[in-house]
């Protein structure tokens, strides 16, 4: 029996020996390879160990801040408004399981701890490390209004811009997500939440609904078509279009029907006010594909919007190439009313509107207002500058005049407070074959003669279960825009 005990001891020695060999393997032979493994958490953890500056809104409220983690070294990021600013701030996921989004990504260089800029000569000698705070142009007050206005819907987006500077005043979309949960100290919880957001889907809550979701703009595109008339063939503007219920399209036996089978026609002003599809189809055919495509391009279609968000979060709006219409005249008529292959983001629609509101110039849209250092000194300020000169001031003013008619006695009548001159346009874009619509409304004010519009709002509400299939832009998106516009200009409560 004792011999067997000695054999057992030998067996143990062998087992311990194998374990010792494996430890040498892992800790010496493979150590370098393991240290360079992409799953090695050093990178993520070094991020976690660094403090991070605040993100504050236009009225000084804190949108994102970091606190010392109470159970060890490191900092936890907090977003006191939860999902309200998710599209703006993005989320700081220290585990890097997801990406950084929004301001957290775009201005990461300021927010993380870095060598602060020297302000004085002595400052040069005593270089210190610090974080900067980023102040954004949006405000909690208007975001709350936008959230409330979109409350009846599960999906939708609203953007408000100051047309004179390009400052984004509101950027809110649904569905949203809670950035706090992507910034949790528990990487397991981060992983689970991130997975639950279905990140690979195009309709994930992580996708910025205002800048990254494209939809046919429908009749809001008539702003561009109208502008094209004044820029390329002003004679059309004086034409009187025959009253029709359906427009026969060339190169085919197709008919372009008006909304709900209505009959319309007449002057350009009348046609824009009631959003006459047959008339605008006719205008498009008269303008020609090259002219219309050129105008759309001038308004920013097919160009990446240079907003200060990660480029992956900003979709490029589409208008078909002008040459493609030579053999596709029906497509030209549909494109002139914002259907078929035309698609744009809510941001792009707001930018088109801001050109109309700002004498033809599209100011570069931006979210950053200022960057401050820890002592409250301004480190950087966003200097507003033009992105595109979409059209002439004269054309912009003429289109704006026509759009006032839309709000006063056209498809957007009755939405806005009396006494406020609003230039608006509705859009009810049919999607798919079931005639359900994506509903749009854009509006800018004050738009009266001699007034300078201070805010341009665009809302998009895609068709979704629970909404009437035959809803219109004015019914569905109208109240959303009206609430945000009123709040931005101080009307109503």
């Amino acid at each position: 029996m004792d011999r067997r005990i000695r054999l057992l001891a030998l067996a143990f020695v062998a087992c311990f020996g194998v374990l010792f060999l494996q430890l040498n393997n892992l800790q010496v032979r493979e150590a370098k390879r393991l240290q360079h493994n992409p799953n090695e958490p050093s990178t993520a953890v070094s991020q976690w160990l660094l403090p991070r500056g605040d993100i504050i809104d236009a009225s000084g409220q804190v949108l994102a801040y970091s606190t010392k983690y109470e159970r060890g070294p490191g900092y936890v990021r907090h977003y006191p408004f939860g999902p309200l600013f998710a599209d703006v701030t993005g989320a700081y996921d220290w585990t890097l399981q997801s990406n950084l989004y929004g301001i957290e990504s775009e201005y990461n260089g300021y927010l993380v701890q870095h060598e602060s800029t020297a302000h004085t000569l002595s400052g040069l000698l005593t270089q210190t490390e610090g974080t900067d705070s980023v102040e954004v142009t949006v405000s909690a007050r208007l975001q709350e209004v936008a959230k409330e206005a979109l409350a009846p819907y599960n999906r939708g987006a609203v953007v408000a811009i100051d047309p004179t500077t390009g400052a984004i005043l509101v950027m809110y979309s649904k569905p949203s997500y809670n950035p706090n949960r992507l910034a949790s100290a528990n990487p397991g919880a981060v992983r689970r939440y991130y997975a639950s957001l279905d990140p690979s889907s195009g309709s994930s809550p992580l996708v910025n609904g205002a800048t990254d979701i494209l939809a046919a703009p429908g009749s809001t595109f008539k702003m561009v078509t109208t502008s094209a008339i004044f820029d390329h063939d002003p004679a059309i503007a004086t034409e009187t279009v025959p009253v029709l219920t359906a427009l026969p399209l060339p190169q085919s036996n197709l008919l372009l029907h008006n909304y709900a089978g209505e009959a319309c026609g007449g002057s350009l002003a009348e046609n824009l006010a009631v959003s006459c599809d047959t008339a605008f189809g006719h205008y498009g055919l008269q303008l020609g594909g090259e002219n219309l495509a050129e105008e759309a391009h001038a308004f920013g279609f097919d160009r990446p919007v240079p907003i200060d968000l990660p480029s992956g979060e900003v979709a490029v709006s589409n208008f078909p190439a002008g040459s493609s219409f030579a053999a596709n005249q029906p497509g030209l008529a549909y494109s002139a009313i914002g259907q078929e292959n035309v698609s744009e983001t809510a941001l792009q629609d707001a930018l088109v509107l801001s050109a109309i509101a700002d004498g033809g110039t599209i100011m570069t849209p931006h979210l950053m207002a200022h960057v401050f250092d820890e002592q409250g000194r301004v480190v950087a300020t966003y200097r507003p500058h033009a992105w595109l000169h979409a059209t002439s001031a004269a054309t912009a003013d003429q289109v704006r005049q026509l759009m006032i008619g839309v709000a006063e006695h056209g498809t957007a009548a009755g939405l806005f407070p009396p006494g406020l001159t609003v230039a608006a346009k509705t859009g009810t874009a049919e999607v798919g074959n079931n005639n359900c619509s994506t509903d749009w409304l854009v509006a800018t004010a004050p738009a009266g003669a001699g007034q300078v519009p201070r805010v341009a709002v665009a809302a998009m509400v895609p068709y979704q279960p629970g909404l009437p299939c035959d809803g219109t832009g004015a019914e569905i998106a109208g109240p959303v825009v009206a609430k945000v516009l009123d709040a931005a200009l101080g009307y109503g409560s």
Partner: protein, 478 residues
């Protein structure tokens, strides 16, 4: 003058074997007389032990100091208490051993306490709340150690009550399944296992104690049936085989415990129990057929388990390729392996590893504490832990070689294999030699039940070692 010599004169000398046998009598004999080391041999063993205990205490104190400097840049707030506690534990163990097991192996307790101390220092950095509880369990464990040595003066007493031991073991195995006691608490790292018994706020894993009782039962049963198990009496074809009926009771016991453990979904313990059973059977009979049959049975069992228990098949597939899902199911093993890589030869230093960051290495205080040690103490630290267990196994098998009775021999083997095999398969988990078994690293991991059970295990080994040394000493002197 030595401490042994100093203390020897403290009470009236009395032969320990002649001590009164009633509990009350024993208690008074413990207070007034007892078996202080009577021989130069015993005294020198205890002196060695005291020296080792103090060196070990110094190691633990320095580790605490380094960790505190790393975490807070200052000495620990309660430095005095820590020093008092470490010295107190060393002296307590020395006193208990001098009085109750004077001839026992001097290496066992110092090694176990250093492992326990290093484990505690790791836990304190990783989870101060658990560390507080662990401290309480260390105290309970040491008291249990003393109580067992005190109450069990002769190992053969255990042999006598073998069916009582079996009954108790089965009761403890079933306890977590009883609705009154059992729970699978959400706040515990239960991971699908049903192992806990809770009474008020105290939770305990009775399987830890059951495992000791089963080992003792196997040992006594094998001793009794050794002849029957070894001698071939039945002819099957051309071969003579031992009477299979001899296996009856032990097979029943083994199958029941395996079934119960499987019902509780604790794969680690069934594997451990299986290994101990096989080792004892082989040592008793010397028949390789049993080992081969055992491995075949094990392979069949593992195959079945991987198909029947989702937990098992998942653990195996994660073990085979954790890098397939480095952020999902494989997160834990991947991070465990990466921690070894970061540690390298000398480690990052106590309290300075990335495992200190929240979430980098989940359950770092229990199943993956070996990875944490690997990062912070490097290959040097992991090797030290390995050597620690090797020393314990060595001491246990030495005790088996010197044991006075067949039963003591088998019990010592069973207990040693229990400890050594558990340490081996758990260290093999984070190093990816074996799939994760979800058990604790003896003396090092956080876990009250396992700590108490392991101190009881050491008490039993020390008792056997004490008896054996006395015997060999006697034969050496004559």
């Amino acid at each position: 003058m030595t401490l042994g010599g100093l203390t020897r004169g403290l009470g009236p000398r009395k032969d320990g074997f002649g001590a009164p046998s009633t509990i009350l009598g024993r208690w008074s004999s413990f207070l007034h007389a007892g078996t202080w080391p009577r021989t130069a041999w015993a005294a020198s063993r205890r002196r060695s032990e005291l020296g080792l205990l103090l060196v070990g205490g110094l190691v633990v104190l320095l580790a605490t100091l380094l960790e505190s400097l790393a975490l807070s840049g200052a000495l620990p707030d309660n430095s005095v208490q820590i020093i008092v506690a470490v010295i107190g534990i060393a002296l307590f163990v020395q006193l208990v051993d001098r009085r109750l097991a004077p001839d026992a192996d001097p290496v066992v307790m110092p090694v176990a306490l250093v492992l326990n101390g290093i484990g505690y220092v790791m836990i304190e950095a990783l989870d101060p709340h658990e560390a507080g509880q662990q401290l309480g369990w260390i105290a309970i464990g040491l008291v249990a150690y003393a109580v067992v040595l005190f109450a069990l003066r002769r190992s053969r007493d255990l042999e006598r009550y073998r069916y009582l031991l079996l009954g108790l073991a089965l009761l403890m195995l079933v306890a977590p399944l009883l609705p009154v006691l059992g729970r699978s608490p959400a706040d515990q790292n239960a991971y699908g296992a049903k192992l806990w018994v809770s009474f008020h706020s105290i939770s305990f894993q009775p399987v830890e104690i059951a495992k000791l009782l089963l080992v003792l039962f196997f040992a006594s049963y094998f001793v009794e049936k050794r002849e029957l198990l070894t001698t071939p009496t039945r002819r099957v074809g051309d071969h003579l085989l031992p009477d299979l009926r001899a296996f009856g009771p032990v097979a029943v016991a083994w199958v029941i415990s395996l079934l119960v453990i499987l019902a509780e979904r604790d794969v680690g313990f069934s594997l451990l129990l299986f290994a101990v059973f096989l080792a004892l059977l082989w040592v008793t009979t010397g028949r390789w057929t049993y080992v081969v049959a055992g491995f075949v049975l094990f392979a069949a069992g593992a195959f079945l388990a991987s198909h029947l228990l989702g937990q098992v098949s998942q653990r195996i597939s994660v073990w085979l390729d954790p890098w397939a899902h480095p952020l999902g199911a494989g997160y834990q093993p991947v991070q465990g392996e990466l921690a070894f890589g970061r540690g390298g030869l000398w480690g990052t230093g106590l309290g300075l590893g990335l495992v200190q960051q929240p979430g980098v290495l989940p359950i770092a205080t229990s199943d993956y504490i070996f990875s944490a040690i690997g990062e912070e103490l490097g290959l040097a630290g992991t090797t030290a832990v390995l050597v620690g267990y090797a020393l314990l196994v060595g001491a246990g098998l030495r005790a088996a070689l010197r044991a006075r009775s067949e039963f003591a021999k088998l019990a010592a083997i069973g207990l040693t294999v229990t400890l050594g095999f558990q340490a081996l398969i758990i260290m093999a988990g984070p190093t990816r030699l074996l799939p994760d078994t979800g058990m604790t690293l003896p003396f090092v991991s956080y876990g009250g039940s396992s700590l108490v059970a392991n101190y009881i295990l050491l008490a039993l080994l020390m008792r056997i070692s004490d008896e054996g040394s006395k015997a060999s000493e006697a034969s050496w002197r004559t």
